[in-house]
């Protein structure tokens, strides 16, 4: 092991720390409109990170993850509206139900691979959307069909997960993202992470080493669904509205997947990075041209996807971090021996 590498904790991380600081501090000093963009960045970053926990690590492409987002939103909101249960408690109930649902769905789906898996998740997503749109009641619970659930504005109440200003919402979201990133990091550096990466590389070899494929895939699925359900609760509370047409939509699922893939699947910070890049671009574009050219931002998503697959199949994460590290060396002039060891990994 190269000991010089640890001489300075900040070495090689300066821009990463700077980025985190920007996300933490800057939203305090900008207009509400910009705060909204920051919230969307973190929201999509959160969803993409959750998607990454199962799909990024296992290597199967889920194009129906909006279902689990919607489950979280619906359950916690229904608990609040019909059961007067605080979303802070409800979101945990929602998360547990969503995780259980994810496992039930995953059990048959994980027998399929590649396009078959992707198609099944699309079909599942569409199935749930159409079902919710066409049913006023399920098991006696009033889900209000295509109308969706509208939450009344009651003012600034912590217990009801309702805040007067955007910045409070933002910091709640920061906490969610931090937990998700931490969970991802823990997975990546644990037995589970190693097993999932092995399954992704070669399922046959993994199985011969005693890895129960379905078990570990389902664990990842449960964690992913558990976490994305929180994002759903946030969505409902922030927008004060949950409609099946948007939250269960195919577009939502694809957006979540694309952000994670552009960012870098299987990495800890990649999905968040993807959101930092894509969300501001698309928000700016739909702000500027949304009226005259609907679909422009989704067009950008598509083009980005094609370019990333062609030129950066691992996502932008590697290239972006590499670029900033180089920049850092240029600015601070760390010695050259270190630079080599960072560039290549320890030999």
């Amino acid at each position: 092991m190269n000991t010089t590498e640890r001489t300075n904790f900040f070495q090689g991380k300066i821009f990463a720390i700077l980025g985190v600081l920007i996300l933490l501090v800057v939203p305090n000093f900008v207009s509400t409109n910009v705060q909204i963009v920051f919230i969307l960045i973190l929201f999509y970053g959160l969803c993409a990170s959750c998607w990454n926990i199962v799909c990024g690590f296992v290597g199967e492409l889920s194009l129906g993850h909006a279902v689990f987002l919607g489950f979280g939103a619906y359950i916690s909101t229904l608990l609040l509206m019909d059961g007067s249960l605080s979303p802070w408690v409800g979101m945990f109930i929602a998360a547990i139900i969503t995780a259980a649902f994810g496992v039930i769905v995953g059990l048959p789906c994980f027998r399929l691979h590649g396009p078959y898996f992707a198609l099944t998740t699309i079909a599942l997503g569409e199935l749930i959307r159409i079902f919710v749109e066409n049913n006023e009641k399920v098991f006696g619970i009033n889900i209000r069909g295509a109308m969706g659930l509208v939450l009344k504005q009651t003012g600034n109440q912590f217990i009801a997960f309702e805040f007067a200003n955007k910045i409070t919402y933002y910091y709640v979201l920061v906490a969610f993202v931090a937990v998700t990133i931490l969970v991802t990091w823990l997975i990546k550096n644990s037995k589970l992470g190693y097993y999932l990466t092995a399954i992704k590389s070669d399922p046959d070899a993994a199985e011969s080493l005693g890895i129960k494929l379905t078990k570990y895939k389902l664990i990842a699925m449960a964690i992913s669904c558990f976490m994305i359900s929180f994002a759903g609760t946030f969505y409902a509370q922030y927008f004060r509205y949950v409609g099946p047409t948007r939250i269960f939509s195919h577009d939502m699922s694809v957006q979540i997947a694309l952000i994670a893939l552009v960012g870098g699947q299987g990495t800890v910070f990649g999905p968040l990075l993807g959101a930092c890049l894509l969300v501001p671009i698309t928000e700016f574009l739909s702000e500027e041209f949304g009226g005259t050219m609907p679909g422009l931002h989704l067009f950008i998503y598509g083009i980005m996807m094609v370019l990333v697959v062609l030129y950066m199949p691992q996502g932008i994460y590697k290239n972006v971090t590499g670029f900033f590290k180089k920049l850092e060396y240029k600015i601070f002039g760390w010695d050259k021996a270190n630079r080599k060891s960072i560039g290549k990994g320890v030999k």
């Binding site: 399929l112 199935l127 066409n134 609907p294 062609l310």
Partner: protein, 300 residues
């Protein structure tokens, strides 16, 4: 009651033929190149807009416009394969394989095309009011009147024409021999002197040309709108998996089953709920026999 079900059945068969026509190209592309073309629906939508432009600007009926649009889409398909998919296939021959990238690139392409047209044309529904869409065929079925546009009947038969043409090209021509060789074993075919990537491009082009023909039939009676592609694209996938990925008769059979299930199902529940039936049918099929009704088996 029985009559109305019978009527729904006939409507379903007609609609199913159109579904089959659209799904055929997708099935051929998968059968040869193993690419699940998520941009298939977008290509269909693109072709219908070309027909729309030809009709509104020059008054050319889509049935005639075929002669112009099909070659354009053929070359578009070839270009897609050459510029986007072949580079990935070449890269794949290295150390690590990532089949997901093939799926993603077509997904991205489809997304880009769909939203490009959304930007240009907006989400308004357009129609092409041709003769075939305005003339009706009426037959008495028991107490009911069976009425349908001639365009729908033409679309139904088009499925068989496209299917037989594709089957003939693949099974009876010199080009088809190369296509079959490549689809069975691309390395062995390469050793025998077949230009694998060129053959892939031709097969992809054929698949997209087939969807252009289906697009002509569809645009005669259906809306022209950017989101039409997504609707039919998703359905095509379900149909092709149901019938067996890569199987030509399977695509038509799958289409017919889908059409009937949707149409007859709508007699008993609401029509949007009946499209849920097709999703359920698809999932049951996948879990029981992933290779589809007429598929050749093999691991998924």
């Amino acid at each position: 009651m029985l009559d109305s079900v019978l009527l729904a059945f006939i409507y379903g068969i007609l609609q199913g033929g159109a579904y089959g026509a659209i799904a055929l190209g997708l099935s051929v592309i998968f059968g040869v190149t193993r690419v699940t073309n998520f941009a298939h629906g977008a290509m269909l939508m693109l072709s219908t807009f070309l027909y729309y432009e030809l009709y509104t600007r020059f008054g050319i009926d889509p049935y005639l416009g075929l002669l112009i649009v099909t070659p354009i889409l053929y070359f578009l398909g070839m270009a897609t394969q050459k510029r986007l998919i072949t580079p990935l296939l070449k890269k794949e021959r290295g150390t690590t394989q990532d089949p997901a990238s093939l799926l993603l690139i077509t997904l991205g392409l489809g997304y880009a095309i769909n939203n490009l047209f959304m930007m240009i044309y907006g989400s308004d529904y357009k129609t092409i009011p041709t003769a075939a869409s305005k003339s009706y065929l009426t037959i008495e079925v028991g107490d009911f009147l069976f009425t349908t546009q001639w365009a729908r009947i033409i679309a139904f038969f088009a499925a068989f024409v496209i299917g037989i043409t594709l089957w003939f090209i693949i099974n009876k021509t010199e080009l088809g021999k190369r296509i079959r060789a490549v689809s069975q074993n691309r390395d062995a075919a390469a050793i025998c002197g077949v230009d694998v990537y060129k053959t892939y491009a031709i097969a992809f082009g054929l698949g997209i040309a087939a969807v252009a023909v289906a697009g002509a039939c569809l645009s005669e009676y259906y809306f022209v709108q950017p989101q039409v592609g997504t609707l039919f694209g998703t359905k095509s996938f379900l149909i092709v998996v149901l019938g067996g990925l890569g199987s030509i008769p399977g695509a038509i059979l799958g289409g017919l089953i889908f059409g009937v299930v949707e149409s007859v199902g709508a007699q008993f529940i609401t029509s949007s709920a009946s499209s849920m039936l097709t999703f359920i049918l698809f999932m049951i099929m996948l879990f029981l026999k992933p290779s589809g009704l007429l598929g050749k088996g093999g691991k998924v």
